[in-house]
């Protein structure tokens, strides 16, 4: 049977879905490859090989194409030695193979100094900052959110203030966090916490409110007390939605990582990115960004699979 690709409102076959998923990654990669390896598509610069008679050119210097040909013609006109060069992209767009090389060498470069870390150790630091921030936030945020979603009184008492606070940008608390918590992991965890917590309470409260009222009425009719309502009806009722919220919120916490790690002493993957960017080693910068993307995506996929196991009745819908 011929696969139908563009039928309105119809789910694709497994094979089609897999192909498209692959395609969604291959497409940007293909564009990147074309820009990098096919000289006439973009390559607005020229990398100087031999400076010829142009005094200010240097070997392996990047020069704008227009300027390069101006100097070339000038040299030709005056019958001086002509510069030579090859088309190149600007320094901020390294080619895919350069990024792959950077990725490999970043992990295999042995620390030179005694107090230096392997890249995977810096990454572990970053991940621990995120997880601790997220864990602390969840320990308080989830119970508070459920209570606010269940009891109007809790909602009225907490949510207006939280609504206000969530508009305050977490990075603005950087200097304060350093002053109170020191310069190491604690202020970084605090920033992740501030960035996650307030959204978390509101999201969880909303999810709780969306629980089917019929369930609550039935439980009340059957004589459930407040506590057993909470633990035997509300929490089991929202568990699968709550799980999905947490997945989204964890992604949220990741976006605060770079900002959080800028605070206090330099550490983690952010140190690597900012330092390499400062010296314009963009292949390393791309490699590091790629690592973060892969870690984020992998975690999310594992959590999604886990969700299917935990909440098998949700399999039809998107967990």
């Amino acid at each position: 049977m011929q696969d139908q690709w563009l039928t309105v409102n119809q789910e694709l076959t497994l094979r089609q879905r897999r192909l498209l998923t692959l395609g969604s990654f291959l497409l940007p990669l293909a564009i990147w490859c074309m820009l990098s390896y096919v000289p006439f598509i973009w390559h607005p610069m020229v990398e100087v090989e031999d400076k010829g008679s142009v005094s200010y050119f240097k070997e392996s210097m990047l020069v704008e194409k227009e300027l390069f040909y101006q100097e070339l013609e000038k040299a030709q006109g005056e019958e001086r030695a002509v510069p030579t060069g090859t088309p190149a992209n600007p320094i901020y767009l390294p080619a895919p193979h350069e990024v792959i090389e950077a990725l490999y060498s970043a992990f295999t470069t042995e620390p030179i100094r005694r107090n230096e870390q392997w890249l995977h150790e810096s990454l572990a630091d970053s991940i621990s900052v995120i997880l601790l921030g997220f864990l602390l936030s969840s320990l308080i945020g989830v119970p508070l959110g459920i209570l606010a979603g269940t009891f109007s009184a809790v909602s009225r008492l907490t949510e207006p203030f939280i609504e206000f606070f969530r508009y305050l940008p977490a990075p603005a608390f950087g200097a304060l966090a350093v002053a109170i918590l020191g310069i190491h992991e604690a202020p970084k965890i605090a920033i992740i916490f501030i960035g996650t917590f307030f959204q978390q309470v509101l999201v969880v409260a909303n999810t709780t409110r969306k629980l089917d009222p019929a369930l609550l009425e039935a439980a009340m009719t059957l004589g459930a007390k407040r506590i057993s309502m909470l633990f035997r009806v509300v929490i089991p009722g929202i568990a699968s939605d709550l799980y999905r919220d947490m997945r989204i919120l964890l992604g949220w916490a990741w976006t605060y990582l770079i900002v959080a790690e800028m605070i206090g002493s330099s550490s983690g993957i952010t140190w690597f990115i900012t330092q390499q960017a400062r010296y314009k080693n963009f292949d390393n910068v791309f490699a590091a960004i790629l690592i973060i993307g892969v870690i984020g995506l992998t975690t999310d996929m594992i959590l999604a699979q886990l969700g299917k196991r935990l909440f098998p009745w949700q399999r039809g819908t998107k967990v």
């Binding site: 030179i112 100094r113 005694r114 200097a175 992991e185 002493s265 330099s266 690597f272």
Partner: protein, 322 residues
């Protein structure tokens, strides 16, 4: 697991420290950042010379501005800064005393102009990208003054120093003021651009120092003397042609460059021997003294409303630990 424990224990330790007044001997906490004269501390850290000298120190690596923030928040006993920024930090509450001169900038800070502009005089009526109120601004005013010009002769565009290379390349300004590695990046990024003025034209405009909090200096004077001793062991190691490459390799690895790449940044930083540094601690006017140079920075900071009240320079300098 051990990580979580460490964080909790550090939190508890911080809380306890806040409660108890001055308990057991803590290591000296020093914040340092990416400037060749300060990266050189790495040599002693790597070779464990502080241990040998019998002084416990903890070096914390920061971005430059973040290091001054952490010092101002009372999280550090000392921080590496320029003498001008020491005054700025002090004026806003974090008093500090400069006890050691690492180096003076000898060309790493520069005014870079696009092709066609060959001297400071050519800047008349042109746009200059500079981080207003900071050390680059000071360098620019110094360049203008030396050429008989005033600030109003050029149009200033406020640009963060690390973005100056791109701004010069965009063509929106005619010149920028920056220090390494940004100044070198600008020269590479804009073919034909030229360095028309640099800190090498006015040595002593920018000193790079170790500034200590007055409390720590009073409590641990002897320890700081040992720190200064270790510094001159570093200087000897760095200046000795036999060991210089090893020093540069350690420094390069701190900032994530290869030794060859890092060598470019060494020349523009004049690391001072003990005898040379002592000379600059003498109290005279002008750029050949830390006092004179700081006075000029102070005047500059007031003229540009970086802070309102003149600082007492004598409070900021203590050369007696040498």
């Amino acid at each position: 697991m051990s990580k979580i424990k460490r964080i909790w224990s550090s939190m508890i330790a911080a809380a306890l420290m806040a409660i108890s007044t001055q308990s057991i001997a803590e290591p000296l906490k020093i914040g340092y950042s990416d400037w060749p004269g300060w990266v050189a501390w790495e040599v002693a850290i790597e070779k464990q010379w502080f241990k040998e000298a019998g002084v416990e120190v903890e070096f914390e690596w920061f971005d430059y501005v973040a290091s001054m923030d952490a010092f101002a928040a009372g999280q550090l006993d000392a921080v590496t800064m320029t003498n001008g920024d020491a005054l700025v930090t002090g004026s806003t509450g974090a008093k500090n005393v400069m006890i050691l001169i690492n180096d003076y900038s000898n060309g790493n800070d520069m005014v870079v102009a696009k092709p066609g502009i060959n001297s400071v005089k050519d800047l008349k009526g042109k746009k200059v990208g500079v981080e207003i109120g900071f050390v680059g601004h000071l360098l620019l005013l110094n360049a203008l003054e030396k050429n008989g010009m005033k600030e109003s002769d050029v149009e200033l565009v406020n640009v963060p120093t690390n973005e100056t290379p791109q701004v010069l390349a965009s063509g929106d300004v005619d010149a920028i003021v920056a220090w390494q590695p940004n100044s070198g990046m600008a020269l590479n990024l804009v073919p034909g651009s030229k360095r028309i003025y640099s800190s090498a034209d006015e040595p002593g405009l920018i000193y790079d120092v170790l500034a200590v909090s007055p409390q720590s200096l009073a409590a641990d004077r002897d320890k700081w003397k040992k720190v200064i001793k270790v510094w001159y062991r570093i200087v000897d190691y760095f200046k000795d042609p036999k060991t210089q490459n090893s020093a540069i390799a350690i420094m390069a690895s701190r900032v994530g460059l290869t030794p060859d790449e890092y060598k470019e940044f060494i020349g523009g930083t004049k690391i001072l021997t003990k005898t040379e540094a002592k000379q600059f601690f003498k109290k005279t006017d002008g750029f050949t003294s830390l006092y004179g140079s700081s006075k000029i920075s102070d005047d500059f900071n007031i003229a540009n409303k970086v802070y309102g009240k003149a600082q007492n320079i004598d409070d900021y300098i203590d050369g007696s630990l040498y």
